[in-house]
């Protein structure tokens, strides 16, 4: 079932008339007749979880919003999408801008935000035009601006471009940046719901989260919660990339198995050239890498599904995370050391530099990984890496520190032999890859 991308293929759906013709703004019509608190209630009922990475229940976040007398509140849409491997929000905004605008309108109404922002990744410059065009159309048609549809509710949406920093996707760094300052994350508490933009109560949600409010309004929170499994309700956008035949953005129901997602024709359609699967990072670069043998089946031998609970089954020892849905597949030709080094370089480059464990630690992890990758590593370096990542984790202001530590930890945990081989075979490691790990590729039951 598709709730978000159902109409994505329709020619011209990016324009108001066509979007409206295909049922657009019906949810808004409905919502504007409800009391704001009723909308919050519906979203709570839907069980919708934040799609930005942390998976925090959206309705719960909304109900935490402080409402002091006389202080404006704001809704901020996080469209910074800079996590390597994640490009679902881009797809959504590019093809279905009105879906996001409608979601923003409903959410702004529910939360009482008369001034709402979309903070968008700087490189998505052309999407800014798409969004601004849609905002202008919505305004012309009375869905934004003053006295929306005669309800007396006013709402303006501003699009603000970032300037190329991954950290500005972290919600408090985003707010600092929006205020015109250097994007350094703030210490929490206070949370944005209490002191956010200009110290006013603020809700920050991901693009996909806010777009999902539209189908929730359309079908009702109750019905939405029935889709998917357990606490993983509704549908999820997955951006798939790496060694697969059909990279792209897919909307899935969360009772789909990982194996089916990789091999079925409807989704990734298997690995090119019949290569073997080596590992997968299922939720964007920040989540732990999983070796093939733990990907389709959990350690307990149960089928692994594409949802929050199942992906994290087994904790970090044998599981991973749903994250932001950036699904990266690695085949037998990929080098885990090199891959981990690339990520370490990314996190070091993107660390805002406030916390010393993150600023210095990511730098040292990158340096050590570089040494190992280029044949200058020592055995003790692997332990040192393990040591550093362990001390970064949980000891920083924002989760970027964790995000930098987890991939390194998981790589060493599952592929230690490959690291050791790099140390013991410094020259050979320069000419060929280690290949598959000590385990065999699990056999696919899906026929390609």
């Amino acid at each position: 079932m598709k709730l978000l991308l159902e109409n994505a293929h329709i020619e011209g759906i990016r324009y108001y008339e066509i979007y409206r013709k295909h049922g657009g703004y019906r949810a808004a019509e409905k919502a504007l007749k409800m009391a704001p608190d009723e909308i919050v209630e519906e979203v709570k009922k839907s069980g919708l979880r934040g799609r930005g990475g942390a998976g925090f229940p959206a309705g719960m976040k909304w109900s935490f919003l402080a409402k002091p007398e006389g202080v404006p509140r704001h809704l901020v849409c996080n469209a910074d999408e800079s996590e390597p491997g994640t490009f679902k929000d881009r797809y959504l905004m590019e093809f279905l801008p009105h879906l996001l605008i409608e979601g923003l309108l409903i959410s702004s109404f529910a939360l009482g935000s008369n001034l709402t922002f979309i903070y968008i990744r700087g490189e998505y410059a052309w999407i800014v035009d798409v969004l601004e065009q849609a905002i202008a159309e919505a305004k012309t048609n009375g869905w934004l601006g003053k006295n929306i549809q005669g309800t007396g509710f006013d709402c303006e949406i501003h699009v603000q471009r970032g300037a190329g920093a991954y950290i500005c996707g972290e919600e408090t760094a985003l707010l600092e940046s929006l205020e015109g300052k250097r994007g350094n994350p703030r210490i929490k508490p206070p949370f944005p719901a209490v002191q956010g933009l200009w110290l006013r109560p603020t809700v920050v949600n991901n693009v996909e989260t806010l777009a999902a409010v539209v189908p929730i309004m359309n079908i009702g929170g109750e019905a939405y919660s029935k889709i998917g499994v357990g606490r993983s309700t509704g549908t999820k956008l997955i951006s798939a990339c790496g060694n697969i035949n059909k990279p792209g953005v897919y909307e899935i129901e969360m009772n789909l198995s990982v194996e089916e997602f990789i091999y079925s024709d409807e989704y990734c359609s298997g690995i090119p050239k019949g290569k073997k699967l080596k590992a997968c990072i299922p939720g964007g670069s920040s989540v732990p890498i999983v070796p093939a043998n733990l990907l389709f089946k959990t350690a307990k031998g149960e089928t692994r599904y594409m949802n929050y609970e199942s992906l994290s089954d087994g904790g970090f020892a044998t599981g991973t995370m749903m994250g932001s849905g950036g699904f990266i597949v690695l085949d037998e030709d990929q080098c885990v050391v090199r891959h981990t080094m690339t990520l370490a370089r990314f996190y070091n480059h993107e660390s805002c530099g406030q916390c010393s464990p993150c600023r210095e630690g990511t730098g040292w992890m990158y340096k050590i990984l570089k040494n190992i990758e280029y044949g200058k590593g020592k055995m003790s370096d692997i332990d040192l890496l393990w040591d550093i990542q362990g001390k970064i984790e949980g000891n920083t202001i924002c989760p970027l520190g964790d995000a930098a530590a987890w991939p390194v930890a998981a790589a060493i945990r599952h592929f230690r032999d490959e690291f050791e081989w790099h140390v013991t075979h410094p020259e050979e490691a320069q000419t060929r890859n280690y290949g598959l790990a000590h385990y065999a590729e699990p056999l696919s039951t899906v026929t390609v």
Binding site: N348, E350, G353, R359, T362, L384, K391, N395
Partner: protein, 909 residues
């Protein structure tokens, strides 16, 4: 409440952090970013501890205590986590403690010591990158641990807004402005960042290699520059008899902050140019003499001249730059020994209108409130003050207040740098303060924004004011002062509707022929608004010199003894005579400074005794002053350097300077501060009190000045408002007068509960009078004068210290871009400035700080001195000269090279 740390139970308070409790109980936790002044940023993560029941490590610097909390700082895990952070920091740069300035006082070194880190686990090559471009500060990037303290303090405490972090990740580094070298940036070299840096990343350039911290004796004392009265610590190399470094003390009024002069302008005390021996003029040349020769000569001269012509041919000048004790000594000598009241000092040239105006309106001629209250005010109204240069530390508080949400209006003909932070900048025409303020008062009353109850209950004549103020409708006021009607209304509304207004003013108000009227009008305004006698309000003149408040308090004035006891009162005269053990004190008010000088040319002033006052350079119309000084029969100058005035002296006596004797200064919020002796004076230099005592002896009066403290005690015995202030009580922290008894806590706010010192407040009818010399065809420019950040007065201290002269080596005439373009003048060109009194040749600086038609320069440089041009027109009440306005003409002399570049905000060349 109680918490447990490492299995011991400790008492804790509600808002304590775990770190607070640990520190109180001598449990060491490394902290590399936290500092009380820059707050809990939780960045360095060196302070982590383990708390039972909480997941992961917690940063103790921002972790509030809870009752029953169980904390561990010494487990293996905690130590490992702390170690890793410190280890990484050590590795992040190049830490060669052996040759580092900070070794011994470095917080990173301490952390390594406590955690047992001998060398880093990680290895990195030093970049060797240093920024030595600025005059006083070295940045060693290899030693920076990115704790952010300097960035925070530069932006949030001193609010100079220079430092920031640039780049990210491991490349993160501190930078000045938009990544320029410090020496080219807008950094004002206040040195606050150096003082707060935990490592050797920021160090004072001048003390490099001069010795380790432990070698120096630390002497707490008071800054010898402006009237803020900053508390500082001199780091003294006893063996060399030299100050090596200066740091700010964490005490009011400055809380550790200083400006470039206070922190880096200290070498003058050890200058080889200091006066060291008495000099007597023989055949037109000054020759070294013994103290006996010099003192005998002076005694002889006083005896014969006063004997022949009477005591009034003798005049004396105290100084706003010497101690209270020395001012008291010179006034007592003049009155008790010579028996004349001809004693005055340089307040005449600056804040005499304040003393007169505020005494008239309120009964007390001093600032009504304290510096710290600026942080509590709602609206700051600044008029006629270039505070970022003349009172930098006060400006830090003002900027802080604005950062924290106070609003500010800045009124000044020149776009002074503080206007950069103002919500509203109001450029009014030079010398139109009375109509401007009256227009505002009128508008306030029209709109019923005045405080009727306050006016009715606490002032004497509210109805009079309401009547005559009608003469100043805003439209008329606007026409005179050149501020658009709309803007005047806006200002009036802001003033009228604010909860607390603090008025801060300086010499832009007083140095006019209408100076006293200007002050009275400000007093009117605050009485109309009722913003007096409360915290965060008041009328707050910024006294210019370190001790100009004190010189007034000590009675270096022709109309009052110390503590403002009138000389005309028969009864108090008797009381003082009794205490001083003399008779025949004069009941006649003495001459004011300009009169003393004028009378020289008519032969009525024959002897001038001048202490710490460079009269020739500080009085207006220098040519005339020189004539007057030349006409004297006998001129005695006591000073620390030769200057333009000593040239004419018959006898020059070498004085001690601020760190060579004990004493006290009184600052701009009436706080009496202690000075301590840190070094020995050069040669045979002696304190003024000693000189006066010796002269007294020779003239048959025992003045009882056996030490600075004895002199103070002599004053205190008949002191009223300062009777309760003893050296003992101000060892650590100053006391604000009135402080009548030794148990009195001092008075931060005057006129509380609407009760004025004089009873009820008095409104004065003030009227517009134009400046004495209006610009005309022949002299089309208005010249205004003042002080710069980098220098002080006639430059004797700042130009004899290392570095300040390099930053600002010569005078610049500030001229507006419009005028400059019209006259084809560019920055760096030499121009000739001519007034009816003289001419100077000076370099031009084209800057938006000057409005069209107004030019500006200072009196710091003997080579191009403003006072050659200024007008000897005086305030009708106090005889304060109109330094802020005279008419001049400008001609371009030659082309030059631009030396002024990034100067706008901080007035840097």
């Amino acid at each position: 409440m109680k918490i447990t740390i490492n299995n011991n139970i400790f008492e804790a308070q509600e808002n304590d952090t775990v770190l607070d409790v640990a520190r109180r109980n001598d449990i060491y936790i490394p902290t590399l970013c936290y500092h009380v002044k820059t707050g809990q940023t939780a960045k360095c993560r060196a302070c982590v501890v383990d708390v039972e029941g909480m997941r992961g490590m917690q940063t103790s610097c921002n972790l509030k205590v809870r009752d029953g909390m169980n904390v561990h700082t010494d487990t293996k895990e905690v130590q490992e986590a702390q170690k890793m952070v410190v280890d990484l920091m050590l590795a992040s740069g190049y830490h060669n403690c052996l040759a580092c300035e900070r070794s011994g006082t470095c917080e990173l070194q301490d952390a390594c010591y406590h955690l047992g880190i001998e060398k880093s686990t990680y290895k990195d090559a030093p970049t060797g990158r240093k920024d030595e471009s600025s005059e006083f500060i070295v940045i060693d990037f290899d030693k920076c641990i990115k704790c952010g303290r300097c960035v925070n303090i530069c932006n949030n405490r001193v609010v100079n807004e220079v430092l920031g972090f640039g780049y990210r990740g491991k490349e993160t580094e501190i930078m000045c402005d938009d990544d320029v070298a410090m020496g080219l940036s807008t950094c004002v070299q206040c040195g606050e960042c150096v003082q707060i840096c935990p490592t050797g990343a920021l160090t004072d350039k001048k003390s490099r290699g001069k010795g380790r911290d432990a070698q120096f004796e630390k002497v707490d004392t008071t800054c010898p520059y402006c009237g803020t009265g900053c508390q500082l610590t001199l780091h003294v190399d006893k063996a060399k008899n030299k100050v090596v470094r200066v740091t700010g003390r964490d005490e009011w009024p400055n809380n550790g902050m200083l400006c470039v002069k206070g922190r880096y302008g200290f070498e003058f005390h050890a200058s080889p140019k200091r006066l060291q021996y008495p000099l007597i003029k023989k055949n037109g040349k000054h020759e070294q003499a013994t103290w006996d020769e010099a003192l005998d000569l002076i005694t002889e001269k006083i005896k014969t001249t006063v004997g022949k012509y009477g005591p009034d041919v003798f005049s004396a000048l105290g100084s706003g730059r010497i101690t209270n004790e020395n001012n008291y000594a010179i006034q007592k000598f003049t009155r008790a020994v010579v028996k004349t009241n001809n004693i005055d000092h340089c307040a005449r040239t600056c804040h005499a209108p304040t003393v007169a105006g505020l005494a008239h309106a309120f009964g007390s001629g001093a600032a009504t409130n304290s510096v710290d209250e600026i942080l509590e005010t709602d609206l700051i109204f600044v008029i006629g003050s270039n505070m970022t240069e003349a009172h930098p530390v006060v400006s830090y508080y003002v900027k802080q207040a604005v950062k924290n949400g106070s609003r500010m209006i800045v009124c000044d003909p020149r776009r002074v740098d503080i206007a950069h932070w103002a919500n509203l900048y109001v450029p009014l025409k030079v010398g139109t303060d009375v109509p401007f303020l009256n227009g505002l008062i009128n508008e306030i009353i029209q709109n019923n924004w005045h405080n009727e109850a306050f006016m009715k209950n606490n002032t004497e004549n509210p109805e009079d004011l309401k009547e005559w103020i009608k003469e100043y409708p805003v439209e008329k006021a606007s026409e005179i002062c050149g501020v658009p009607v709309e803007q005047m209304k806006q200002v009036a509304k802001l003033l009228g509707t604010a909860e607390k207004v603090s008025v801060i003013y300086c010499l832009g108000i007083t140095e006019h022929t209408t100076g006293t009227d200007n002050v009275k009008t400000i007093a009117n305004l605050q009485m109309v608004l009722g913003h007096l006698g409360k915290r965060g309000c008041g009328v707050n003149p910024l006294r210019g010199q370190n001790n100009v408040q004190g010189a007034c308090d000590m009675g270096a004035l022709p109309n009052v003894y110390h503590n403002y006891i009138s000389v005309k009162d028969e009864k108090t005269k008797e009381k003082i005579e009794k205490h001083w053990g003399v008779s025949g004190l004069s009941l006649k008010e003495g001459y004011k400074l300009p009169t003393m000088l004028h009378k020289a040319t008519t032969g009525d002033t024959k002897i001038l005794f001048c202490v710490g006052d460079n009269t020739v350079q500080t009085e207006p119309n220098m040519a005339k002053t020189i004539q007057e000084v030349k006409a004297l029969e006998f001129l005695v100058v006591i000073d620390i350097f030769e200057n333009a005035t000593t040239d004419f002296a018959d006898v020059i006596l070498p004085d001690v300077c601020f760190n060579e004797d004990f004493g006290t200064y009184s600052n701009l919020d009436r706080r009496v501060h202690l000075l301590r002796k840190a070094v020995n004076p050069p040669g045979e230099a002696k304190p003024t009190w000693w000189i006066m005592n010796e002269l007294g002896k020779r003239l048959g009066v025992d003045l009882k000045f056996t030490s600075a403290e004895a002199t103070w005690e002599d004053m205190r015995a008949t002191g009223t408002i300062m009777g309760g202030i003893t050296y003992e009580r101000i060892q650590h922290k100053g006391l604000q007068w009135p402080c009548p008894t030794v148990t009195h806590p001092g008075t931060p706010i005057l006129h509380t509960n609407g009760k004025f010192t004089r009873g009820k407040g008095l409104f004065s009818h003030t009227q517009y009078r134009s400046q004495a010399e209006m610009p005309d065809k022949e002299y089309p420019f208005v010249l205004s004068t003042g002080r710069r950040l980098w220098h002080y007065h006639t430059g004797t201290q700042t130009r004899n210290s290392i570095g300040l002269e390099n930053i600002f080596p010569e005078e610049l005439l500030e001229i507006s871009p419009v005028d400059a373009a019209r006259m084809h003048i560019k920055s760096g060109d030499m121009v000739k400035a001519t007034s009816r009194r003289g001419e100077i040749t000076v370099k031009a600086w084209v800057t938006e700080r000057s409005p069209e038609g107004v030019v500006w320069c200072t009196f710091h440089f003997r080579e191009a001195h403003a006072n050659i041009l200024t007008n000897d027109a005086y305030d009708n009440v106090t005889e304060t000269p109109e330094y802020k306005a005279c008419a001049i003409r400008i001609e371009k002399v030659s082309e030059g090279v631009e030396t002024v570049s990034r100067g706008f905000r901080q007035a840097r060349p």
